[in-house]
Structure formats: C-alpha cells, structure tokens
Amino acid sequence: MEADTFDPDLIHAIFKQIWTRRFLERERNGGNDATDCEVGAGTSKKNRPTSANANAVKLSCELLRVFVTEAVQRAAAIAEAEGVIKVEATHLERILPQLLLDF
C-alpha cells in the first residue's frame, strides 16, 4: 500500500535542483569578487551545493503533507459551511492568508 504522503525522492530532487541553482549563482558571483576561492576542487569552502540528511527529507515530506492537507481541509470546511458539495477556487482563496501565516 502506498503511504499517504509525498515521495521523498521527489522532494529531494526538488531540493537538489534549487540548491544547485543557488550554488551556481554563488559561483558566478564569487568569481566576480576574485577572492581566494580559486583552484581547490576539494576545499571546504562553498565548493559544493547543500545536501540533505535522509531524515530531514522525510520530515520535509511530512511538512508538505501537512501543508497540503491543511489547505484542502480548510477549503473543504468553508465549502461545507456554505452548503456546497464541491470545493471551488473561491474557497481556497479565502483560506489562503491564514494558511500562509501559519506556515
């Protein structure tokens, strides 16, 4: 049975994509400064993008799952209060501010 949550590999892939993007930008900007971050493939400066612990990824999946669940359930609550059976975009709109504040 598939667990009711996001795929950790997917989340990890997204993280890596962002971190590599940021890493490349840093390199680009760092090159302009011409400081001492020159040759040194293995130096422990900012020479590799951020990585993540396996548990951190699982925890992030959980966080995202809660985010999505909250969004849907809050919107559904509004729809129910209106007496409508279908959750629409307007319901989602209304819960958005509080949701973004909570997360």
Binding site: F6, S51, A52, V72, Q73, I85, F103
Partner: protein, 126 residues
Amino acid sequence: MEGDANGIDVEKEEDESFNCPLFDRAAKRNGLEISEPIIAYIADFAFKYTEQLAKDLELFAQHAGRKSVNTEDVILSAHRNDHLASLLRSFCNDLKAKEPQSERKRKKASRKEDKATTSVVHVPDL
C-alpha cells in the same frame, strides 16, 4: 541556457507528480468533491512552498556552519507555528526510534540508564 531549460522541464514533471491521491483522499474524508483546477493550484502552491523551504533550509544549515541540512533545520523552519513544530518533532522522534543505527548517539544517556530502561532497539556496541 541549458541549465534553466532543464530546470523548467523538471518543474513541470514534478508539478504533475504532485497530483497524488493525497488530495483526493484529504477532500473525500469530509465527503466533499474537489474541483479540477484546485488540484493544480494546490500542486503549484506546494511546489512554491517547497522552493521556499529549500532556501530556508539552506540558510539555516549555513548559519549553523554546516553543508548538510538535518532534521533540526526542518523543525526550525516550522517555528512560526508551535503546534506544527511539536508535530514535526514527534514525527522526527518516531523516525529516530525506528532506526537501529541512531542508537549509537544515545551513548551518554544509555550508559547511565541502560540497565533500567529498555530502549526500542538493541545497542550494538558500547
């Protein structure tokens, strides 16, 4: 640029894989139907939220002088909501309890309390 083009492709793919049964189940629990565009909106949000989360996590890890994001960083990113933070913390504790290898970190505690308390897993070497 090639890098960017790849980025955009991956984005779309991942957007779609966000549309997992998770959404349907969450809505149907209340006995309500969920309209099509909502799934796309929420998938988009979730993706953007993930991007924000990635940036935050990177900053927290860097701030702590680390290159690798760990569970404390994730819990910290939920600091705005106490309830959420405690939820994450207990989830994290559950994960650690299931892992047999992490028992090594509990050397300090287990040396003193070992005889009295029985932890969930066996400590391989002390």
